[in-house]
Symmetry: C2
Subunit: 305 residues, 2 copies
């Protein structure tokens, strides 16, 4: 079974504190790594928590508030200094490329590896391989902001060994059966697909919504994911401030989780004003039981089903 | 007696390690604070080491390699979010303003305080009050790089109390005597200045040279400072690489310290390849005895004389 896990590198909001670094999280899916957001100090957090950047091929930046990308230029520079040659793809709002290239220009840095920017401008698939699909979708924030959802693809059905041994189906027949087809015997009898195959493992999925106001428009994009990371900057008492600042309360995050029917909700992007966020968990759990407070340095395994 | 001290926030070089953050240091002189360089994570280091940014009015950025300024935009943003109103002066190579303003623009941040950029382009005084003078001078690096020297001004001589009590000099006479003048008695006898005054306390001074190749041209600027912070990226075995990369070895830093007749030499900007830098201290001390390895989080008091 392939790994599918996320390590929280930072779960704070706009200003860092003794407890919280700005936002970043590393997904490891099989031998691939994907970074979502890259606040200041992300590369130090990776060192601290021993999170490798090996096979980090794609970085997804949600929006251009600094607590979500100020660490990117440092990470890009460090990978250059360590001799990276593998291309790096960055998906981000349009202006990030200008910001990064300007800094490379004035330091007279000619990167040793290809740095490829892709502009987020519509909800669509932004990464696709034979096992995994990553899509972006719009959030509702003061400036354009994007959520991300990573979904494993449904695998083909598995042929039962005793069926293959007994009937020795041809290559094309096997292909059709794996797609759900039945098998017709020479005499006209039909073996139903479910008799001759086994369900493939359930695909796993993870979604990221930060920063955003409460917005039900995200629900179709994140439907039924195994883990939803949703921002919970504020508490119930600050519901008005949350709306005004285009952020969410913990309870609102839970409402989105409930509407989307997700497996587990992981709260983050906590306001620096809270030295303790236990009450956010209490408020969220009143709406959605399977809620956790994200913890920096902790790795969450995305389980099937 | 007024404070004059420097706290090392980061003394690493281009890439951060578990031991070293990129360059930054905070000077506290009386109630003023001055920041020299601001590598990524500087604001977190300030939190970690409880270094206040109160009365931080001036930031001096040596050059536009990222390990000396990538943390600046984060610090600027944080001070904005905490409601700073006091102007902030930044002395830096020309292009830094473009880099910072571009990032503020795309995050739609309208700073609540005046951010005033000043371009470093000649060796000159860049800060001057009644007690202190700060000057910049060119270093020798791959891109334009600046050193800084902070010197207290010599105070006026102090009148001896018994002289004032006995002769009750007038205001103008007192002024002349404080400047070094003698005092003529009515009968023609002259009281020499050294009989009627006391030496003022010796002024203190601190200089910063990073990043730079070995270059004796800096010596006149840093002559006799109490503490010289000089980069020591490499060791003796890497003298050729140091020259090629426009950096210094620890021994070269000590040679500059000796030529400038400084009080103490503080080494920093250590290459990430060294897990231990004790041999840098040994090599430097062969040339200049009063050498120390800078330590992150440590405060060095600049003593008189």
């Amino acid at each position: 079974m392939t790994d599918f896990q996320v390590t929280i590198l930072g779960n704070g909001s706009a200003v860092p504190t003794t407890l919280q670094n700005p936002t970043a999280q590393m997904l490891q899916i099989g031998h691939h790594r994907f970074l979502i957001d890259c606040g200041e100090g992300t590369q130090m957090q990776m060192i601290k928590y021993q999170v490798s950047r090996k096979n980090l091929s794609h970085i997804f930046i949600s929006h251009l508030h600094g607590d979500h990308y100020f660490g990117l230029i440092g990470l890009i520079s460090t990978m250059h200094l360590y001799g990276r040659e593998m291309p790096l793809h960055i998906y981000a709002p349009e202006s990030l490329e200008e910001i990064i290239r300007l800094q490379l220009k004035y330091s007279e840095t000619r990167l040793k590896y290809p740095l490829l920017f892709h502009v987020l401008q519509d909800a669509k698939v932004i990464y696709d391989d034979n096992r995994l699909e990553v899509s972006c979708f719009p959030l509702n924030h003061r400036i354009p902001s994007w959520g991300f959802v990573l979904r494993e693809k449904m695998k083909e059905r598995n042929l039962r060994k005793n069926f293959v041994d007994r009937y020795a189906p041809g290559v094309e027949q096997m292909h059709r059966i794996k797609q759900g087809g039945d098998f017709a015997l020479p005499g006209g009898k039909v073996l139903k697909n479910e008799e001759i195959t086994v369900e493939p493992p359930l695909p796993r999925s993870y979604a990221y919504c930060s920063d955003t106001a409460y917005d039900e428009d995200v629900v179709p994009f994140i439907q039924s994911v195994n883990i939803l990371y949703h921002e919970a900057t504020f508490d119930d008492a600050m519901t008005d401030i949350a709306a005004e600042k285009f952020h969410s309360t913990a309870r609102q995050a839970a409402q989105i989780a409930a509407k989307a029917g997700v497996g587990n909700l992981l709260l983050g992007h906590f306001s620096a004003r809270f030295s303790d966020v236990d009450h956010l968990l209490t408020e969220a759990r009143e709406v959605f039981r399977n809620t956790l407070l994200s913890e920096q340095g902790k790795t969450y395994v995305i389980e099937r089903g």
